[in-house]
């Protein structure tokens, strides 16, 4: 089992999500962000950077996250990214498509472009578990591999094993917020699969 650390903001959605026992069982270290010290990542294999962090506090610890990745760590990023901190980050904010499923011939826009990836092939996640709404997309560069595309271009989730010595799993999805807000059941399905994947799934 990989040892997973999570940055914790102290707000209510994060409190619920990361203290829910079925997810907390996978979390070796819940790091309250204002008290972050780089040594807290010692011995950790994965660092989850959830959405909706206090950005000014977060920016100060970004160099430590890059050093963690350069030591071979796995960094996971959830949600919209108004700050530049992910290697070769190219975030495109889009109008959130809250209501796609009420439209005629409803199409979530998700395109599963890597069904052979172990995340999907080995049954951790399905398209349905990744489907609610999106706040934007990432435009990718060489070395970044999309796992899920959006029909209008850009990536909903990608993996980057080349920019650092580690692995970056980046998604615009923000299940940490929605589950913690008691809203949108698909986000629970996502976390039900994603935590076990991070703990034991094959990276590629």
């Amino acid at each position: 089992m990989r040892k997973i650390a999570v940055l914790y903001s102290g707000h209510a959605p994060h409190y619920r999500t990361f203290n829910e026992p079925k997810f907390a069982q996978y979390i070796a270290s819940l790091i309250y962000m204002p008290q972050f010290e780089e040594s807290m990542l010692d011995g950790m294999d994965v660092l989850i950077v959830p959405s909706q962090l206090h950005l000014a506090t977060f920016k100060a610890i970004v160099p430590a996250i890059h050093r963690f990745a350069d030591r071979g760590g796995i960094v996971v990023a959830f949600g919209p990214q108004p700050e530049e901190w992910i290697p070769h980050q190219n975030w495109e904010l889009r109008e959130t498509n809250f209501w796609w499923w009420l439209e005629p011939n409803a199409d979530s826009g998700l395109r599963m472009v890597a069904p052979e990836h172990p995340m999907f092939r080995d049954g951790f996640l399905t398209e349905q578990a990744c489907t609610w709404h999106q706040h934007g997309v990432f435009q990718l560069t060489a070395g970044q591999t999309s796992l899920i595309d959006m029909k209008d271009g850009g990536s909903l989730m990608y993996i980057d094993t080349t920019s650092t010595n580690g692995t970056w799993i980046v998604t615009t999805l923000d299940p940490d917020f929605h589950y913690g807000s008691y809203f949108m059941p698909a986000t629970e399905k996502f976390l039900d699969g994603f935590f076990p994947y991070l703990a034991s799934g094959s990276l590629q």
């Binding site: 903001s9 102290g10 707000h11 209510a12 959605p13 409190y15 619920r16 309250y32 204002p34 959405s51 909706q52 962090l53 206090h54 950005l55 000014a56 506090t57 949600g79 919209p80 990214q81 108004p82 904010l93 959130t96 209501w99 009420l102 706040h135 807000s181 008691y182 809203f183």
Partner: protein, 208 residues
């Protein structure tokens, strides 16, 4: 007395994006915005309302609970729009999720005496485009005498006012930023201006 609201900014991405679903952290005539972590060292004597929203760091607020209690004891108002999981306010019980078996379990009842929710259609708060659950998903339980403004149909309070636990007034709202109900094409946009008028009247009461 002039209404001077101190709104603490959680500094998160939704606030930066200015998304409708987030707390709006822009300054207005009555609202000053301060980074949440500046609160501990700040002189708050010029303010009469402390206002927190759903992305606030409650671990931090818990470290500031004595300052918050002193602010209340000075006769001021605290407005909390979040799911409270740390006891950073006096005599407030921790958030409990509503048990939802069917969509109508999200339904709420607005008090006819509430000036804040006057003229608001509860159904427009709870549902958008036929989808239920937008307003509240739980509550802070109460075991003492409070003034309930919004309750679920089973009686549990979503929004209440506590005038007895401190020398000040606590407005406890187990949902999203109540001042964000200011736009839109239905009756819910009445809430924000009515909330500001309510705060002004409360301050007059405190100072009479």
């Amino acid at each position: 007395m002039t209404l001077n609201i101190l709104k603490l900014d959680p500094g998160h991405a939704f606030g930066r994006d200015g998304r409708a679903m987030s707390a709006d952290n822009r300054e207005t005539k009555h609202v000053s915005v301060m980074d949440q972590y500046a609160f501990g060292d700040a002189d708050i004597s010029n303010y009469n309302v402390l206002y927190v929203t759903d992305f606030i760091d409650q671990e931090y607020l818990y470290t500031q609970r004595e300052k918050i209690a002193a602010f209340l004891d000075a006769g001021n108002i605290v407005v909390s729009c979040t799911h409270i999981f740390r006891p950073w306010l006096p005599n407030v019980h921790l958030f409990t999720p509503k048990e939802i078996r069917k969509f109508s379990d999200y339904d709420v009842v607005l008090s006819e005496d509430s000036a804040i929710f006057e003229g608001v259609d509860a159904a427009e708060l709870v549902s958008r485009k036929g989808v239920a659950g937008f307003f509240a998903r739980g509550f802070q339980p109460v075991y003492h005498d409070v003034e309930v403004h919004v309750r679920f149909t089973d009686g549990t309070p979503v929004t209440y006012v506590d005038r007895t636990s401190t020398n000040g007034t606590m407005f406890i709202h187990a949902a999203r930023d109540i001042l964000s109900f200011v736009t839109g094409d239905n009756t819910s946009k009445r809430i924000a201006p009515q909330m500001l008028e309510w705060l002004k009247r409360e301050l007059q009461k405190e100072n009479n």
